[in-house]
């Protein structure tokens, strides 16, 4: 579902993100062995805010968003997600993970389960919902990502774009408060990229808090409240998309943008 750009601008102005905090990262550092991969990260994400993270390969974008649902553990500093501080307590971590949905570059669907089972598994086993309710909701979200008629197929029988849409539906079935996307379209062919981006744009209308690592600058311009540029483990620049793209401040950002927009 694409909307004309002017309409979007209107809406974006009206939908300023709320002042409630969804994720707060303060003074966070992370090392892989000796390698200092994230350096003094400070970032506040407000409820309903949509943030696009970009930067050159190896700059730590994936690592940053994987820290938010504790797929990676950080060493110093703090991360607070929806009021719960990420500590090493497993119960805490599992709770945060069930509040935070995540979509991966390679979809990571469960190949031994049907599309519907992929979507109902976590609601049934983590949220302990009755099977019927979980299935109804799964069907709703599958319809919403326009793949409801494939519910009984297995992931191996779907195209990449379809698989990614199922992955999004699977995350949504947990009714998360925050959605993280790690390059959801970079393993896809151009034709499929659009169908996945459409689904993400559709998701935007629900007011979901989103953090998206992507190189789709069109998407960033269209929906982001804020664009964050990372390089060498550091947040180098962040700004509204308009200013970020038209008037980048730092040299590294300019270089990156010139490279990425030149083709």
């Amino acid at each position: 579902m694409t909307v004309a750009a002017t309409e979007w601008d209107e809406e974006r102005r009206s939908m300023t993100a709320s002042s409630e905090i969804a994720v707060e990262i303060t003074g966070m550092n992370k090392w892989f062995g000796e390698f200092h991969v994230l350096r003094d990260i400070n970032l506040t994400v407000y409820r309903g805010e949509r943030i696009v993270v970009c930067g050159p390969s190896g700059s730590g974008k994936s690592t940053l968003i994987r820290c938010i649902n504790a797929l990676e553990s950080h060493q110093t500093g703090s991360i607070v997600v929806e009021g719960t501080a990420l500590s090493s307590d497993i119960k805490n971590i599992d709770r945060i993970r069930s509040e935070v949905g995540m979509c991966f570059q390679h979809f990571n669907l469960f190949p031994h389960l049907s599309v519907l089972e992929n979507c109902t598994l976590a609601p049934i086993w983590v949220r302990r919902e009755p099977k019927k309710d979980a299935e109804d909701r799964a069907q709703y979200f599958l319809d919403r990502v326009k793949i409801g008629d494939q519910a009984l197929k297995y992931p191996g029988q779907l195209s990449g774009g379809q698989q990614q849409r199922v992955a999004i539906a699977r995350s949504l079935c947990m009714q998360p408060r925050i959605m993280l996307f790690d390059e959801p379209t970079s393993a896809l062919d151009p034709e499929m990229i659009k169908e996945v981006l459409d689904v993400m744009v559709d998701l935007v209308e629900t007011g979901m808090t989103m953090m998206v690592v992507t190189h789709e600058m069109g998407f960033a311009r269209q929906v982001a409240h804020r664009v964050i540029f990372m390089d060498e483990g550091q947040i180098v620049e962040q700004n509204e998309p308009e200013t970020f793209f038209n008037n980048p401040q730092s040299d590294r950002t300019k270089l990156f943008l010139s490279q990425i927009l030149s083709h």
Binding site: N69, L71, I90, D94, R95, R97, S98, E99, V100, G101, M102, F104, H106, N108, L109, F110, P111, H112, L121, A122, W125, V126, K153, Y154, P155, G156, Q157, R170, S171, M174
Partner: protein, 437 residues
Amino acid sequence: MKERLSVAFVAERQIPPAPPPAKTGGVVGWLRENLFSGIFNTVATLLSFAFVAYVLASVVPWLFLDSVWNASSLQECRKIDDGACLAVINERFLQFVFGFYPDGLRWRPVLAFALMFIAIWPALFASAPRKLLIFTGLYPLLAYWLIWGGSFWGPVGVLAGPVLGWACVRWLPGLMRGWLDERLVFLAAVGVGLLATVLWWLFGVTVFDDTLSAVLAVDLDSVESARLGGFLLSTIIGVSGIVGSLPVGIVLALGRQSNLLIIKACCVGFIEFIRGVPLITLLFVAWLLLAYFLPPGTEFDLILRVVIMVTAFASAYMAEVIRGGLAALPVGQYEAADSLGLDYWKSMQLIILPQALKVSIPGIVNTFIGLFKDTTLVIVIGLLDPVGLLQPIRADQNWNGIVWELYGFIALFFFIFCFAMSRYSMHLERNLDVGHR
């Protein structure tokens, strides 16, 4: 003249889909394609046919046409005809099956064997009624009671142990919550549960059995382990080993991946030790050494000891097979499970193990088959499995000198079991194969 062929091209019409071509030429076509396609293939086919014909020409008359089923000694056989002397199998069949199990009680192992198929049905085929799994869970004790006899309350008492342990884990945390650190509560409950189970087995079961027997005695004539033999013995050891080694192997494989150093070290130590020692050595340990270590007076059945050793042996191999399956899964599967908020046990049970076990099916069945054939090694500690029964038969005046018929018969028994397992695993792999990946 026509205009020149050019590179540019636009399709003039859309080609409609057509059905695939039918298989060419029935039987003859198949033969030509598979057996006689080219000189080399034709020669190979002819040679193979010649070989098969040669073998059949000598085996069929020997085994079927000229064989003797009724005779009381090898000499008599030879007088009647010059084929296989199957009379020995005819005469000793029941001994091959039951060993020295008392005559009048042989219906019991037969019943246990028949019930075994009902018990494994729901475990093997998803189409079976799920309720049968309860029977599957109770079957081991039922089979034990049927085969060894004794008081019915003995096995029931043994079963009560884990139930007691489970009850501790279920309800103790609620009682302890007030005065113990939250994280310790569960561990403490598990500890108490394990302890209670072991203590119950050591001391409670006898009392339980005696008390209930006094009220209502349900007894079968008991049969000593020494009387068990033949295929019955192979099947008991093989099936128990198979049933036990899979779960133990899974636990060991998961333990080997654990982040907790102690658990990991224990699992690695166990696996490496068991794999480093020949099975025969372990059987001797079961036979001789355990008797030293156990407190005097405790009765610990030899067959049970052998079953434990065989299970331990197979589960070490099983653990490595399953570890291979775990390693074959992409990390993304672990991450996806984690990111949905599944805890460790649930993600193992629902996501990781179903896939890892599926990948490992060929290796698992390999281990099962190896284990089943290894049961013949119990001969070295004096148990009379089918091979062990051969010695007395061949030493018998009447049957002295008979070889092929006996070994062939035993081979047939093992072949049927192993072939069935192999076919089942192929069926399972086909059934679990959903889409490409």
